[in-house]
């Protein structure tokens, strides 16, 4: 039986052998692997790209103080982007499952329709949730649009839910019982995060402070975005730094949401504010890429 980290090594290695750049997680707080610039920005434009990385992803509302065997505030996704998508992408994906020890002849695998949409990122795609013996193990998406921009090269995005997949492989009912490495359980490494962040998110987060942080990040992003049209040396424009502020806004929004500080009516408006920034960043990046190509 492979440990959690061995399974991750095998998947990274598998995609490395298929030409993917393997990076470490993006060093900002994100809600999903898709939000890393390695996905959000790299899928734009005409340049082929292949990348795989593990992204710890924060979903404040999903926190359960470490008491629910399957729900986590912060889970880890293995994110794979294949741009453009190869013709045999599903075969490659299935072989990756074989590579981590799943004998597909002994199991039941189904592709169930599940289209993906992120209103905050102005992004959507067509795809499936991949079900293994009734368990959703992967989200498979053909991106169609990102940051409001139609994609030139349609990428396939594979998002493996690593905790679930490993719990399945190790036959554990609770993700906290997963063996991270021999002698060390998932709970030993991550339980404190779950408990403490749940306490913070649900009970102690300062709503006013979070709104102020949101406003500061939003206005800094807006200020920079406003400078772009007249900025002379386009290649030096700090798009990635702007994007970090957008990611902060997105994370703060999720925190405020889990804290119950955003009414359903307000919600739509705040999402639109974040999307506006994300779309602006995507357009700037896209133009920068276009200039490189030209």
């Amino acid at each position: 039986m492979d440990s959690f980290q061995q399974t991750i090594f095998k998947l990274k290695n598998y995609w490395s052998e298929r030409g993917a750049i393997v990076t470490e997680p993006y060093d900002a707080q994100v809600g999903a692997g898709t939000m890393s610039p390695e996905t959000f920005l790299r899928v734009l434009g005409p340049k082929p790209y292949r990348v795989a990385y593990v992204q710890p992803s924060r979903r404040p509302a999903d926190g359960r103080y470490g008491e629910n065997p399957a729900r986590l505030y912060k889970h880890q996704q293995l994110q794979v982007i294949l741009k453009p998508s190869p013709d045999d992408v599903i075969d490659q994906y299935l072989a990756s499952l074989e590579a981590i020890g799943i004998d597909l002849k002994q199991h039941d695998i189904k592709f169930e329709e599940d289209n993906w949409e992120s209103p905050t990122l102005g992004a959507w795609g067509i795809g499936w949730q991949v079900m293994l013996d009734g368990l959703e193990i992967t989200q498979f998406t053909y991106f169609q649009q990102c940051g409001g921009i139609d994609l030139d090269l349609v990428p396939a995005e594979l998002t493996y839910g690593l905790e679930r997949l490993t719990a399945f492989l190790q036959g554990k009912d609770s993700v906290f019982d997963i063996e991270w490495t021999p002698g060390v359980k998932y709970a030993d490494v991550r339980l404190a995060d779950e408990v403490q962040n749940s306490v913070y998110n649900f009970e102690m987060a300062g709503i006013d402070a979070l709104w102020q942080l949101f406003a500061v990040n939003e206005s800094e992003a807006q200020r920079l975005i406003a400078l772009w049209p007249d900025y002379k040396d386009k290649q030096r424009f700090p798009t990635l730094a702007v994007y970090d502020h957008v990611l902060s806004c997105s994370n703060l929004f999720n925190l405020l949401d889990s804290r119950g500080a955003i009414s359903v009516t307000e919600r739509v408006g705040v999402i639109a504010r974040v999307r506006k920034l994300a779309v602006a960043v995507a357009h700037i990046w896209h133009q920068q890429q276009g200039e490189v190509a030209a």
């Binding site: 002994q106 368990l135 349609v154």
Partner: protein, 666 residues
């Protein structure tokens, strides 16, 4: 020579619910193309799985017939110069022309022969457009960016055979050929096929092409799994169809769950199994849920029991979640959750669910007063109606809203009249669904829908075309069904509260209901509604009477006479002010009609519609004879006016059940 044709569009997994429609389109478009191109032949079948749409046609000609067109040129009198010009245009020498005699004289002409194209060339040219012409609810592009071809999922291979030969064409870089692919796990990735070997080759590679065979396999095998257990699968035709079209080789297995979960409401357990896991639930002979399920794999066997084990594990986690939600939710009573609805938006312009709750309570009170029933329990139900929206259970299983509220109300000691009304208040959810089973349930469900309709119409959110984001058609249909089937005497104009657009919208749904759901003829529905549409159970009673009197001998001729009466009155611009003056009535047919009118008036005045209509129909001989023998347009103005008054009296007196002039007669 007659040829067969086989097409297989190989794709990545198509969503189950789109496959049947795609196959129907493929079959229809292909047949029209054969007919339009004059290739003959018939589509023999179209069938598919998530990974392939296939079609076979037989009896195709190998080429179109040659065609001859007679092209008429200049008049013969125009001379040889004109003839030469015409010949040049036709691409022949002048001696190839002939002369055709028409009514206008003699003309140069040329018989142009066009060789028919080969079936292969036609299919090559037509198939790409035909395939990409299939309409999907949400298509994607995958090569060539936004300008590339669009389909539901990427096309990965194409088989196109006419007889033994490949019909060459290309879509999105995929060239047609004679190689198919088997099941992802059970089959080979490259299988040469002929038209005759196609289905068997697939079968040998783990693909059952025919949906009917997959369906039968599931049905037979799932029954066998429960043989000797005294249990049966709870019938679920929709889930069965989903599983038929989500698999290429379906094999049912059965699993169990811990009996302790049976403490949870069966609605919750069934929803988890049905909507989240695609499992059939299993019940005993009395219909009581058993701690088992039937899952359908997309493979041939589970030799080690790993699939069963995996599915049981997933279900256990799901049920544990549900139990957690149930326990957590019980910590706050529904009553105490009502204020929280202020934070849940119903619709931006219509405010929160708290505002809606307050309106619902008011509407319930209004309706209860009109029906003269006790408003206590229904007001209570209306108050708690939406309080399950902020619960964890509903957040997790939105399809259980209402049902969860009802179950929680029951657990929290609300009387049955109250909790059942909450439980049922989204009913009827569809045309097939029943209306709420209790009187209080019907009243509350009606009030909720009426408030939604009034509210949305008041802020201009009417459905347009296929767009109906607030499901107002369904709400209106629910209103109509609850009023009719619940026999509620609530005047339509009171429900619509003076909103003309809403009134018309509901009338439309009333017509739709009686025509499409109840099967009444459209003219019968029009006739009855023209005589009044305030009371829906009354519309139903009048329609039933009309339908049963319609086939009788006197009815349609009488309806025709009524139309004639209406025309006469209209032409005479008759206002119908005066009463009939008996002294002016002539003996004979006019007198007979007048006496009959009085006799029938008395008989038709009963509250029973059928005898009333039968009595009206019995007027026919008197009416016929009147029109035969009596001149309405009498020279004496007083007599004429009196006759018009008589006719007008008949028309108005006998149009209260149905307006017969709306009946379309033979």
């Amino acid at each position: 020579m007659s040829l067969s044709f086989l097409l297989e569009i190989g794709t990545e997994e198509i969503p189950d619910w789109m496959i049947v429609s795609a196959l129907n389109q493929l079959r229809d478009h292909f047949q029209s193309m054969l007919d339009g191109q004059g290739l003959g032949g018939q589509v023999a079948w179209a069938d598919g799985t998530p990974r392939r749409l296939a079609l076979r046609a037989d009896g195709l000609a190998d080429r179109q017939a040659d065609s001859e067109d007679l092209v008429t040129g200049p008049a013969k009198s125009a001379g040889t110069g004109a003839a030469a010009g015409f010949a040049r245009k036709m691409g022949v020498s002048a001696d190839a022309l002939s002369v055709t005699t028409t009514a206008k004289g003699e003309y140069f002409s040329f018989t142009k022969r066009t060789a028919g194209k080969s079936a292969r060339d036609i299919l090559s040219a037509q198939l790409p457009g035909l395939i990409l012409g299939i309409q999907w609810p949400k298509a994607m592009y995958w090569v060539g960016g936004k300008t590339g071809p669009r389909f539901i999922r990427p096309i990965r291979w194409l088989v196109a055979l006419l007889g033994d030969a490949v019909v060459p064409f290309e879509i999105a870089g995929v060239k047609s050929g004679s190689l198919t692919r088997g099941h992802r796990i059970l089959g080979s990735g490259s299988i040469p096929v002929t038209i005759e070997s196609y289905r068997d080759a697939l079968q040998a590679n783990g693909v059952i092409l025919r949906a009917s065979e997959r369906r039968e396999k599931i049905e037979v095998e799932r029954a066998a799994l429960l043989d000797q257990t005294g249990l049966r699968v709870h019938p679920d035709p929709d889930l069965l169809e989903k599983l038929v079209y989500i698999t290429e080789f379906p094999t049912p297995i059965t699993g169990v769950f811990d009996e302790q979960f049976l403490e949870l409401p069966s609605e919750v357990l069934v929803t988890v199994m049905r909507h989240h896991q695609n499992y059939f639930s299993v019940e005993d002979a009395e219909g009581k849920l058993a701690p088992r399920f039937v899952a359908v794999m997309n493979t041939n066997a589970d030799p080690e029991g790993l699939v069963r084990h995996g599915n049981e594990r997933v279900l256990r986690a799901r049920f544990n979640d549900a139990r957690f939600f149930w326990t957590v939710d019980q910590q706050k009573r529904l009553e105490d959750r009502v204020p929280d609805l202020a934070n849940v938006t119903f619709q931006a312009k219509l405010g929160s669910y708290l505002a809606k709750t307050e309106r619902n309570v008011a509407v319930v009170r209004e309706l209860a007063a009109k029906l003269d029933t006790d408003s206590g329990p229904v007001e209570r139900a209306a108050r708690l109606l939406k309080a399950d929206l902020p619960t964890e259970m509903v957040k997790e299983f939105p399809e259980l809203q209402g049902i969860v509220g009802g179950l929680y109300a029951k657990a929290q000691g609300e009387p049955e009249e109250v909790w059942r009304a909450i439980y049922d208040h989204y009913k009827p959810a569809s045309m097939e669904d029943s209306i709420p089973s209790s009187a209080s349930g019907r009243l509350v469900a009606l009030a909720d829908k009426i408030d939604t309709l009034r509210g949305c119409f008041s802020v201009g959110l009417m459905p347009t075309g296929s767009k109906d984001p607030f499901a107002l058609r369904r709400a209106a249909q629910g209103v109509v069904r609850i009023l009719v089937e619940g026999k509620l005497d609530l005047p339509l104009s009171k429900l619509t509260a003076g909103d003309a657009a809403l009134h018309e919208f509901l009338l439309d749904r009333i017509r739709y209901y009686f025509r499409e759901v109840r099967g009444f003829a459209y003219d019968e529905v029009n006739a009855v509604i023209a005589s009044g549409a305030e009371n829906l159970p009354d519309i139903e009673a009048r329609l039933l009477a009309l339908k049963s009197v319609r086939p009788t001998a006197n009815f349609e001729p009488l309806a025709a006479s009524f139309k004639r009466i209406q025309n006469i009155l209209r032409q005479a611009s008759h206002q119908g002010a005066g009463a009939v003056d008996e002294a002016l009535i002539e003996p004979g047919p006019e007198r007979v009609l007048y006496d009959e009118f009085k006799r029938v008036s008395a008989a038709a005045g009963t509250s029973e519609y059928l005898p009333g209509l039968e009595a009206i129909a019995s007027l026919r001989p008197a009416v016929d004879s009147f029109f035969d023998k009596v001149l309405v347009n009498a020279p004496d103005a007083r007599v004429r006016a009196n006759r018009l008054n008589l006719l007008h009296g008949i028309l108005t007196e006998f149009s209260t059940i149905a307006d017969f002039s709306e009946i379309v007669t033979q």
